[in-house]
Symmetry: C2
Subunit: 251 residues, 2 copies
């Protein structure tokens, strides 16, 4: 039942041996129910998490019960990597749906990084990709109104699901409540509700509960106004295999 770990990062197609290497780092499998907290902001972060199944959210908490969901994690994402440069976790990780997580000690992760240039490069490039996505998210929140943000967010999820499932599907089953959606969009829950309804009436999407069907993809894209990014990279980073000065194990 274990999903392939091949999207540990997006820039490396892992062969079987390497996949086992990564899976070997797992020290524990945990399950969480919807709304459970996986890790709290500020707590020491000696572990990172591989999201085997379910959706998780990364939230930055601000005073007074307000918070911003800075990232939606989908299956095969690696959670908690930003926190490795801090003494306490940068973000609160919360289960948005029932979730299965593989726990990996930071030390193992670092060891892999140090011993395998292929993985190191892949992780580095994945981090850059995350930066771009955050930049786009910031731009969306700073420069567009609620309906545009919603459109951009739905498209973002749609596109990421398309990569995972290897085919586009106009139907999105969002596990997010409207309150959580509001946390993502940077608006209030009440306004999230009105915006959702408003987008529905435009006919660009159709909504039945948390099931959202995209009816007019091009129009929705135009509304969302996100730059369309093609994530690729030069062959400079495609390290052939070991034996160019790197080793896969220790000594």
């Amino acid at each position: 039942m274990k999903k392939p770990i091949a999207r540990l990062s997006d820039f490396l197609r892992l062969d079987e041996a390497e996949r086992q290497l990564v899976e070997g780092m797992t020290i524990e499998t945990r399950r969480y129910r919807r709304h459970e907290i996986i890790h709290s902001q500020g707590e020491p972060a000696r572990e990172i998490f591989y999201l085997a199944d379910g959706w998780a959210g990364a939230c930055v908490d601000v005073a007074a019960g307000s918070r911003q969901m800075v990232k939606i994690h989908l299956p095969s994402d690696l959670l908690g990597t930003p926190s490795i440069v801090l003494d306490g976790a940068a973000e609160t990780l919360i289960a948005l749906s029932p979730v299965t997580i593989e726990v990996i000690p930071v030390s193992s992760f670092a060891k892999l990084f140090m011993s395998s240039p292929r993985h190191a490069a892949a992780m580095f490039l994945a981090a850059q990709k995350e930066r771009v996505m955050l930049m786009d998210r910031l731009t969306s929140v700073a420069r567009t109104n609620a309906m545009q943000r919603l459109a951009a967010f739905l498209l973002h999820v749609h596109d990421r699901l398309a990569i995972i499932n290897e085919e586009a599907n106009p139907l999105i089953e969002l596990p997010l409540s409207q309150e959580e959606l509001a946390d993502v969009l940077g608006i209030t829950p009440v306004h999230a509700n009105r915006t959702m309804a408003q987008l529905d009436t435009t006919g660009l999407v159709e909504r039945r509960g948390r099931r959202i069907t995209i009816k007019d993809l091009p129009a929705l894209r135009s509304l969302g106004a996100s730059p369309d990014r093609k994530y690729e990279c030069d062959p400079e980073w495609q390290v052939p295999v070991p034996d160019t000065g790197w080793r896969t194990g220790r000594s």
Copy 2:
């Protein structure tokens, strides 16, 4: 007159040999005047830039003349790294003051990454740090009002300058026009002006033109409401020196 390149990343104290290695990657030095464009969003990005002197901004452009400045680059920053995962540059880089830039081919950068685990680790950690800063920026824009964003931004700049100069200085000489400030804060230029004036009247800062003096640091921090991050990291990442399976050269 060349500034030390020692802050190419924040997680590695480079020794002399390594510094030369990095400097050796430079193929060209360029100068730009205020407001000149260093690199345009969407254009092929085969180079990254070391900001030797001056301030530069990274902007994501949206339709209709609107844009979001997603990062303020200070001297010794590395510009353009997010774009290495894309076919076209993720952002427009623009000189906010007179600027001196060292141009580095992505291929050299990749080669360094591949051949030196110390540099690779430092770059990776620096990328994670950038992610955290973007997360905080997103939260600031999404969840706080204009004055709080301004406070948070001033503090952000203040703290980064303190690191570069190795001492805190309450006086900040912002080279940004109010329009550019607005691009950073995610508000309109007019409102940036009013907010600036308003913050001035609170007495937390004092303003003479673009010279801003922080008068009450703790109060300003409390207003800005950013989580205070201590950027550190485990010794796992402090690779001793080569010879743990890595080599410095090729072959």
